[in-house]
């Protein structure tokens, strides 16, 4: 690491830190329906949407009504995207005459973007039309991110409200997420990205003659608008196959800085929104502290492993799969951020990382995407761990667990366990199936080595936690993987969202119990340590055997070969 790397990391955390109370406070205002600096501009548009959609925006919903609308809306989005992909060859905005997307790949892609995963078994510039990208994928980038924000907000309302079965209005939360938060941030980020050289046009691909006389075909398209939301909405699906390693998606160190910042911006701010809405800012800071400690620990290990160099090649720097304009430190920061937050975009290829850095990427996802996590999804995922931590702490001292004045009882615990264990079960069961079946094995680039296992483990971890990044040596565009990974993404998304909505509803109707001397405090260092221990133990206990056979063995092999 040289001085510029230190400056890079330092300014990253400073700017992120400053943005947390600013953006977090703003988001709290938005979701509480308070006036804010965007109200004069956005409110007319918001009212207009409610009028056109005939939304009874003052009517609140119970968790069942909320879940019903959320599910119908999401699955309708999936169907529309699926048909858009299946028939893109007959639709306009297709200058390169791309054909229809085959059914298996189209279904996998539609599920992937609807669930905020953005797993990509295809290369955008090779198979997708501009219409599919902007009217299909980009729309789901916004809506899946907004859905995550809605669910997080309902859970906060459930905690705040007293003896009230209603948790908000889905349409209002959805509209506000898009209009006040995602859209304005995306517009600002797009403009910055374009100034750096990210393309934004509807032209035909450019045919050029290189200096050596060869022909090169250069893809075009409305990239900047899509890259902005893919980073801000923790979506991660690139317009182009190489994602943000591609110079047209991420041309300069400055564009790289902004995009790395955008990955954690909203998820980090959500902790402040939480503290602000429940009325105890320290509660939000405690959760943020747990996230930051886990994040910096993972980042440090990954940096240490990656900067050590490859002992099998005389300590040669790990630059395979990395771009010259970024280098090692910014690539590892991005990798850690993109896997800790369920973003999944990449600015370097994770499969070529040193084994321990690769391990950290997988581990970040195995924590359940709660270290910052997805927009909204990270917070509600973390709150599931908070509930479990409070429960365990309650067991230890022999009291009924409480959190922020609400009793945590059997129903909440059952749902929290379900939300935490559903993705984990999927990862292990499906990885096992892939490792003993012919179609599972034949897709591996590193078949018969620990890295082959890592490829499969990475894929299912990424899908079940709605991340979307990959050890991309795995050829995932097969019937087997399109199908199993699609299923993982659906289960990993909705087997968490529904339990969270149930908890929101069940907490909302409970009475408020004022804190007493026996109440277990959830805003101090002890709690932060317990929470971290809970996350690490669940991550480590469930997955340690699998990780030992994959990246850990690979690391040991590398050392002994060197």
């Amino acid at each position: 690491m040289d001085i510029s790397d230190f400056l890079f990391l330092f300014s990253y955390f400073i700017i992120l830190g400053i943005s947390i109370p600013l953006l977090g406070g703003f988001m709290a205002q938005v979701f509480q329906g308070k006036k804010n600096f965007l109200t004069p501009v956005v409110e007319p548009l918001e009212k207009w949407i409610y009028r056109l959609g005939k939304i009874p925006y003052q009517k609140e919903m119970t968790w069942r009504e909320y879940a019903k609308d959320l599910l119908i809306f999401n699955f309708l989005g999936l169907v529309v995207l699926l048909f858009l992909l299946l028939f893109q060859g007959h639709l306009p905005l297709n200058p390169e005459k791309k054909g229809n997307v085959p059914f298996g790949l189209a279904l996998n892609t539609a599920i992937s973007f609807m669930t905020n995963t953005n797993w990509q078994a295809y290369s955008g510039e090779q198979i997708l039309s501009y219409a599919s990208q902007m009217l299909g994928l980009a729309v789901q980038n916004f809506l899946s991110a907004a859905t995550g924000m809605c669910v997080a907000i309902t859970l906060i309302r459930g905690i705040v409200r007293r003896q009230n079965a209603c948790i908000g209005n889905f349409w209002v939360d959805l509209t506000r997420s898009v209009l006040y938060i995602l859209l304005p941030l995306s517009i600002v980020l797009s403009v910055f990205l374009m100034s750096q050289g990210v393309i934004q046009n509807f032209s035909d691909y450019a045919h050029v003659t290189t200096l050596e006389g060869a022909e090169q075909v250069i893809p075009m398209g409305p990239v900047a608008s899509q890259v902005a939301i893919k980073q801000l909405g923790t979506n991660g699906g690139g317009f182009l196959g190489a994602n943000s390693t591609h110079p047209y998606e991420n041309p300069t160190p400055f564009s790289n800085f902004l995009q790395t910042l955008a990955i954690l911006l909203i998820p980090a701010a959500f902790t402040y929104t939480f503290g602000s809405m429940v009325g105890y800012k320290k509660e939000g800071w405690a959760i943020l502290a747990a996230m930051i400690i886990l994040f910096t620990a993972c980042l440090s290990i990954a940096l240490w492993a990656e900067l050590a160099g490859n002992p099998t090649l005389d300590g040669m720097a790990f630059l395979e799969g990395k771009e010259v304009r970024f280098g090692i430190v910014p690539s590892i920061l991005w990798g850690t951020a993109t896997t800790a937050a369920s973003n999944g975009s990449v600015n370097s290829m994770h499969s070529s990382f040193s084994p321990l850095a690769g391990l950290i990427m997988i581990l970040n996802m195995m924590f359940g995407e709660v270290v910052f996590g997805g927009v909204g999804a990270g917070l509600y995922g973390m709150l599931m761990f908070v509930i479990l931590t409070v429960f365990i702490a309650g067991l230890m001292v022999g009291r009924t667990p409480e959190y922020l004045g609400k009793k945590i009882e059997a129903r909440e615990i059952k749902m929290a366990i379900l939300a935490v264990l559903a993705p984990s079960a999927i990862i292990l069961v499906f990885s096992a199936i892939a490792c003993v079946s012919k179609p599972g094995l034949s897709s591996m680039l590193h078949r018969g080595t620990p890295h082959g296992l890592s490829e499969v483990l990475y894929a299912f971890t990424s899908a079940a936690n709605n991340n979307g990044s990959a050890f991309a040596g795995l050829n995932a565009n097969t019937a087997f993987y399109n199908c199993l990974l699609g299923l993982s993404m659906l289960i990993g998304r909705f087997m968490v969202i529904i339990p969270v909505l149930v908890i929101a509803g069940s907490l909302g109707v409970k009475k408020y119990i004022p804190p007493s001397s026996g109440t277990f405090a959830t805003d101090n260092g002890v709690f932060v340590i317990l929470l971290i221990a809970m996350i690490v133990i669940v991550g480590a206990l469930v997955f340690f055997p699998a990780l030992a056979l994959g990246p850990i063995v690979e690391h040991l092999l590398m050392i002994s070969a060197g």
């Binding site: 200096l211 050596e212 499969s351």
Partner: protein, 178 residues
């Protein structure tokens, strides 16, 4: 259901239609060259994009990084080799060997890692200053550069501290030799 259909339709128009059009409008107005691909035009012909790497294999040019897609811009991508893949090690050592031979380098460790390792996009437009510097001798001898021109070339390199855009460098080289 009806509400869902209406709302989805509205959001498709807003986030899928109006938003990208607005951004395109702003971009075409303010950053015309950038948003159209930073294309490099020489004598009214497009010779490439400043951001997209090209394949250089001629002795007369500075060489770029190896690319898993051979700089085919239509299918960006990487090798995804793990550090332990046997083919990875073999090809890296072979590239190191041939780079050393082409430039009469004795100490193999002085070859910068990036010039023998594939990039993430397969289209990396840059190489490090060090990798360019090592190639000056070969180019000067192949092109029969005078000492004065060689100094000019080194001066161009010195303008870039950490890394250099390869297409721009090779265009400058062609200019220098005209």
């Amino acid at each position: 259901m009806i509400t869902s259909i209406k709302m989805l339709f509205l959001f498709v128009i807003l986030t899928g239609g109006l938003y990208p059009l607005l951004i395109t409008g702003i971009g075409q107005l303010l950053f015309h060259d950038c948003v159209n691909g930073s294309l490099v035009v020489v004598n009214k012909k497009i010779r490439g994009s400043a951001l997209i790497g090209q394949k250089f294999s001629s002795e007369r040019y500075f060489w770029g990084r190896p690319s898993s897609v051979e700089y085919n811009a239509e299918c960006s991508g990487a090798t995804n080799f793990s550090p332990l893949h046997p083919e990875f090690k073999k090809s890296v050592l072979a590239r190191q060997e041939s780079f050393c031979q082409a430039h009469k380098i004795v100490d193999k460790k002085s070859v910068p890692a990036e010039i023998i390792l594939c990039s993430g996009s397969g289209l990396d437009p840059h190489i490090t200053y060090q990798a360019a510097y090592l190639q000056v001798g070969r180019i000067a001898s192949v092109r029969n550069l005078s000492e004065e021109k060689k100094q000019q070339l080194l001066h161009i390199l010195h303008l870039n501290k950490k890394y250099i855009n390869l297409l721009e460098l090779n265009l400058a080289l062609d200019n220098l030799c005209e």
